[in-house]
C-alpha cells in the first residue's frame, strides 16, 4: 500500500464520517425560524410558513428560475423495501400511483438533502442536483392512498406514516428501515397521511378514516424505540369532561374526530395545538345529539403527558364534514391594547377564529368568506351555532362552503412583517340530501352532497386582529367551479416581502404582500399540490414546490 492510497483511504474515511455527521438534524433547529434547513412540516412549530430569508426579494424575484426538477420515481425495482407483508397488496390506485399522482408532502431540507414522501414511498434527493440518493418503498397491506403529507426528522432518523396504518422509521443516510410500528388497523378503514411532528423526544402522530364510525386519537411515540408514550382520544369516555356532549358511551366511542393534519406547538407553554376532524356518523347527527366534543375542535395538550389544557370547538355538532383540521397558526400581537400569545385558524367551515393560546379564550369569530350560510350566529364562547335548517334534507339544503371548505388542509401563511394571514379561499356550494336507510345511522349512509358551483376562489390578505380582508385577489374564471382550496396548494411568506401561492391554471406566483400585485410566476405541469418551502443552500436561497408528480427547485439566476 502506497502512501498515496493510504491518504485516499484516510480521506475516504474522513469523508464518510463527515457525510454521516451531515445527515444529522440538530434538534434545536426545530424550534427556530428555518434558515439553512426546513426541518419540520411547518418550517418551525408556529405554523406560520414564514421565512426570515430575504435574498430572494421584491427587487429580484423576476429573476427566479428553475434550477432542477425531480419527477417522483415510483419504480420499485432498485428501491429499498420494507413493509408488514412480504408483498405489496394491490390497491385501487395501483402500486406507486402516489395519491392520484399528486405529491402533497412538504419536503424537509437538511444538510443539502431533501426528504420527500408519497403514499408508500420516501426519497432522499440531493438538493444541489435534484438527483435521487435513495428511494424507500413500503409494501402496503392496502388502505386509502389519498395522500402523504411528509416526513418528520429527529437526529439521523426519519419518520413517516403509511396508508395501511404504520409509522416507519428510516435511516436518513441510507434509507434503510430501522423499525415500523402499527398505529391503526386498516381493516377498520383507518389510514394515515399525517406528517409526524417531532417535539423534544416525542413523535406526534395522528390518523384519518371516517367510513366506519371508529374512534380517533393523537399519539406520542418514543423516537428511538417507537413505543407509545401517551394517547389522547379525541372523544371522551363516560365520566370524563365533555362526555355530556354525547348521548351515550357507545356514540362517543364511535364518534370519530380523526386528527389528520400536523400539529403546532408553543415551547414556552409546552402546549401542542391539535386540530381535530369531523364526528361520526359524518353527516347525520341524529345518533349523536349534542356538541360532540372534542371533534372539529382545536385542543391544547401538554406535550409530555397528552393531558388537555383547553379546547375550542370550531364546529359544534358538525353535520357537514367540516373538520377543524386547518393549521392552528401561532403568533404574538397586541390585541385590544394587550400583548397576547395568539392562535388563529381559518376553519374549513368558512369561519375565522382568533384565540388566546394560553387559555383558549375566544377573542374573535368572523366569517372570512361571504358565502358561508350554515350557521345562525355565535354562542357565548364564540363558537358557531349551527342552523338545523341547513342540515341535509330530503329536498336538499343549499350549503356553502362545499365539501372542499373555505380552507382545507393546505396551510395558509402568517407574515409577521405585515401582520396579515394569506390564504386561497373558496366559496363553493353544495346541495346536501338525505334519505332513509335500513338500520341505525352509520358512516355516511343515506347522505349525498352534490356540488353545484359557487361564487369564486380568491387569494385573500386577511387581518387576524380585525377579521377584515386587507385585499382580495379574485381568480377570474373560477366563478362556476371554484377550485377546492387544497387543489391550489399551501402558501409561504418571506422577509423578502414576498408571498408565494399557487394559482388556477397550474401557476406558482409571487405577490407583494402589501398590495397583492403579482411580481413573478412560473407555469407548472399541474396545479401546485404541496406547500412551498425556502431555505439557504451554500449561500443561495432556494424555493421548492411540488406540482403533480414533480418537485421543482427555483433559485435566482
Amino acid at each position: 500500500m502506497t502512501v498515496r492510497t493510504i491518504g485516499i483511504l484516510f480521506a475516504a474515511a474522513a469523508l464518510s464520517v463527515l457525510v454521516h455527521a451531515q445527515t444529522q438534524l440538530d434538534p434545536s433547529l426545530l424550534g427556530k425560524p428555518p434558515v439553512d434547513a426546513w426541518p419540520t412540516y411547518h418550517g418551525d412549530y408556529s405554523g406560520r410558513h414564514y421565512s426570515t430569508l430575504n435574498q430572494i426579494n421584491q427587487s429580484n424575484v423576476k429573476h427566479l428560475t428553475l434550477s432542477w426538477l425531480y419527477r417522483a420515481n415510483t419504480n420499485t425495482q432498485g428501491a429499498i423495501g420494507g413493509g408488514a407483508v412480504p408483498e405489496a397488496v394491490a390497491f385501487r390506485l395501483g402500486p406507486g400511483a402516489l395519491a392520484g399522482g399528486l405529491l402533497k408532502a412538504t419536503p424537509l431540507a437538511a444538510n443539502g438533502v431533501l426528504y420527500m414522501s408519497a403514499p408508500d414511498h420516501a426519497w432522499a434527493i440531493d438538493a444541489y442536483s435534484g438527483r435521487e440518493i435513495w428511494h424507500f418503498f413500503w409494501r402496503t397491506k392496502g388502505g386509502d392512498h389519498i395522500g402523504n403529507r411528509g416526513v418528520g426528522m429527529y437526529g439521523n432518523w426519519l419518520y413517516f406514516e403509511t396508508p395501511d396504518g404504520y409509522v416507519v422509521s428510516l435511516d436518513a443516510g441510507t434509507g434503510k428501515e430501522r423499525w415500523h410500528k402499527q398505529i391503526v388497523d386498516v381493516r377498520s378503514e383507518y389510514f394515515t397521511t399525517v406528517a409526524p411532528v417531532i417535539i423534544k423526544n416525542h413523535v406526534i402522530l395522528g390518523m384519518g378514516g371516517d367510513a366506519l364510525d371508529v374512534p380517533g386519537w393523537l399519539e406520542s411515540r418514543d423516537p428511538d424505540t417507537g413505543e407509545i408514550q401517551w394517547k389522547w382520544f379525541t372523544t371522551p369516555r363516560p365520566g370524563e369532561r365533555g362526555a355530556d356532549t354525547w348521548p351515550d358511551a357507545y356514540a362517543m366511542e364511535h364518534g370519530g374526530g380523526m386528527p389528520w393534519t400536523p400539529v403546532t406547538y408553543d415551547p414556552d407553554l409546552n402546549l401542542i395545538y391539535v386540530p381535530t376532524g369531523n364526528p361520526n356518523p359524518v353527516y347525520r347527527g341524529d345518533a349523536r345529539k349534542g356538541s360532540n366534543l372534542y371533534t372539529a375542535s382545536i385542543v391544547a395538550l401538554n406535550a409530555d403527558t397528552g393531558k388537555m389544557a383547553w379546547y375550542f370547538q370550531s364546529s359544534p355538532h358538525d353535520t357537514h364534514d367540516w373538520d377543524a383540521t386547518q393549521v392552528p397558526i401561532l403568533f404574538d400581537a397586541t390585541f385590544n391594547g394587550q400583548r397576547r400569545k395568539l392562535l388563529a385558524q381559518a376553519s374549513r367551515n368558512g369561519i375565522f377564529f382568533l384565540l388566546d393560546r394560553t387559555t383558549g379564550q375566544n377573542l374573535l369569530s368572523v366569517p372570512y368568506i361571504e358565502s358561508a350560510n350554515w350557521f345562525k350566529g355565535f354562542d357565548d364562547h364564540g363558537q358557531p351555532v349551527p342552523n338545523p335548517d341547513k342540515e341535509a334534507s330530503q329536498g336538499g339544503a343549499l350549503v356553502s362552503p362545499n365539501n372542499g371548505g373555505g380552507q382545507n388542509w393546505t396551510p395558509p401563511t402568517y407574515d409577521p412583517d405585515t401582520g396579515l394571514i394569506y390564504m386561497n379561499a373558496a366559496q363553493g356550494y353544495e346541495i346536501h340530501y338525505k334519505w332513509d336507510v335500513d338500520g341505525p345511522t352509520f358512516g355516511s349512509a343515506g347522505h349525498a352532497a352534490r356540488a353545484v358551483g359557487g361564487l369564486d376562489t380568491s387569494l385573500r390578505a386577511f387581518d387576524p386582529l380585525t377579521g377584515k380582508a386587507k385585499w382580495i385577489h379574485k381568480y377570474q374564471g373560477t366563478e362556476w367551479n371554484p377550485p377546492r382550496p387544497e387543489l391550489l396548494g399551501g402558501l409561504l411568506s418571506t422577509a423578502g416581502r414576498l408571498v408565494f401561492a399557487g394559482a388556477p391554471g397550474n401557476f406558482v406566483v409571487a405577490y407583494d404582500p402589501a398590495t397583492g400585485r403579482q411580481l413573478w410566476h412560473a407555469g407548472l405541469t399541474a396545479p401546485m399540490s404541496n406547500t412551498p418551502i425556502t431555505y439557504m443552500l451554500n449561500g443561495r436561497q432556494q424555493l421548492v414546490v411540488a406540482a403533480g408528480d414533480t418537485l421543482y427547485n427555483f433559485t435566482l439566476e
Binding site: 397488496v89 367510513a211 330530503q394 339544503a397 335500513d438 355516511s444 349512509a445 362556476w480
Partner: protein, 270 residues
C-alpha cells in the same frame, strides 16, 4: 402466515378494489371495507347461531337493541376468520353486561364472524339516492317565484325553452342545474361566456371565452380564430359578459324553500 391465509387476505383487499371502483364520486375519497369473504353456508350457519345466542341483546339483524350495533364493533371489524372475535367472545365483557361464551369453538366464531361481516357490508352499502324522491316543494309557490321574485321569466318561459323540461331531467338534476346551469348533465349546451379584451393601445378583440387565468386569456373570435393574450396584473383590460350571471347572483339569495318550490314547479312542466 400460511399461503392460503395470505391469499385470502390478498383477495379480500382486492375485493376492496372492485367495490371502490363502483362507488360514486362523492365516496371515492372513502375506501370500502373488506367485504365478507365466506361462502353462503358459513354465513347461514353464523346467522342462525347469532340469532339464537346474540340476537336478544344485539337485535336479530345485529344492528343493536339493548346491546350495541355490531356493524361498528372494532372486535368485528378487526377480526379475521373469527380468531380475534373468538377470544373476545370466550371471555366477554361482564362489567358491561356482555356475557362470556366459554363453550364457543373456533368454527363457531368463524361462522359468526362471517355473518357479522355481511352486516358491516350491508350497513355501509348505501342505498343510492332516488333522484325522483327529492320533490318536497309547492309547485304553485314555485310558479309565483318563477314569475316574481326569482325573475326567472326574464329569460325563461314554460311554453318556450322550458317546454317539457320536467320530462327532460330527473328532479335532482333539474335542481342542480337551476343552481349551476354550467354544471354537469346539460342536454343542451349552455350559452357561451363572451369576453372583450382591450389592449393598452386601444385595440379590442371580442369573442367566446375559451380560458382565463391570471396570466393569459384565450378567446375565439367571430371568424373562429383562436387568440391568446398574455395578462400582467389586469393588463390588458378584460370584460366578461356571462349571460348566466343571474344564476350566480341568486346563490346568495335563494332560500331552500325557493329552490324546492321552483323544482316542484319545473318538474310539473312535462
Amino acid at each position: 402466515m400460511s399461503t392460503s391465509i395470505r391469499l385470502t387476505l390478498a383477495l379480500a383487499v382486492l375485493g376492496l378494489v372492485a367495490a371502490g371502483g363502483a362507488s360514486t364520486a362523492q365516496q371515492q375519497e372513502r375506501p370500502n371495507t373488506v367485504p365478507s369473504r365466506a361462502d353462503t353456508e358459513t354465513i347461514d350457519r353464523g346467522r342462525d347461531m347469532f340469532r339464537a345466542n346474540c340476537g336478544f341483546c344485539h337485535g336479530i339483524d345485529a344492528r343493536g337493541a339493548q346491546g350495541p350495533d355490531l356493524a361498528r364493533s372494532l372486535a368485528v371489524l378487526n377480526d379475521d376468520q373469527g380468531k380475534e372475535l373468538g377470544s373476545f367472545l370466550k371471555s366477554g365483557v361482564p362489567e358491561r353486561g356482555m356475557p362470556a361464551f366459554p363453550m364457543l369453538t373456533p368454527e363457531n366464531a368463524r361462522d359468526i364472524s362471517a355473518f357479522l361481516h355481511t352486516v358491516v357490508d350491508a350497513a355501509r352499502r348505501q342505498r343510492p339516492m332516488d333522484p325522483n324522491g327529492i320533490v318536497v316543494g309547492d309547485p304553485k309557490a314555485g310558479e309565483a317565484y318563477f314569475n316574481g321574485a326569482g325573475r326567472c321569466n326574464t329569460c325563461h318561459s314554460p311554453t318556450g325553452d322550458f317546454k317539457g323540461i320536467g320530462a327532460k331531467y330527473d328532479p335532482a338534476t333539474l335542481q342542480d342545474r337551476m343552481v349551476n346551469p354550467r354544471g354537469r348533465g346539460a342536454k343542451t349546451p349552455p350559452p357561451p361566456i363572451m369576453v372583450k379584451v382591450t389592449l393598452p393601445n386601444g385595440r379590442t378583440s371580442s369573442g367566446r371565452l375559451v380560458a382565463i387565468t391570471d396570466f393569459y386569456v384565450t378567446l375565439t373570435d367571430q371568424t373562429g380564430v383562436r387568440q391568446t393574450f398574455p395578462r400582467d396584473n389586469e393588463v390588458p383590460k378584460v370584460d366578461i359578459n356571462d349571460p348566466l350571471q343571474a344564476h350566480l347572483d341568486m346563490l346568495l339569495k335563494y332560500t331552500d324553500a325557493d329552490m324546492h318550490n321552483l323544482t316542484a314547479y319545473l318538474v310539473g312542466l312535462k
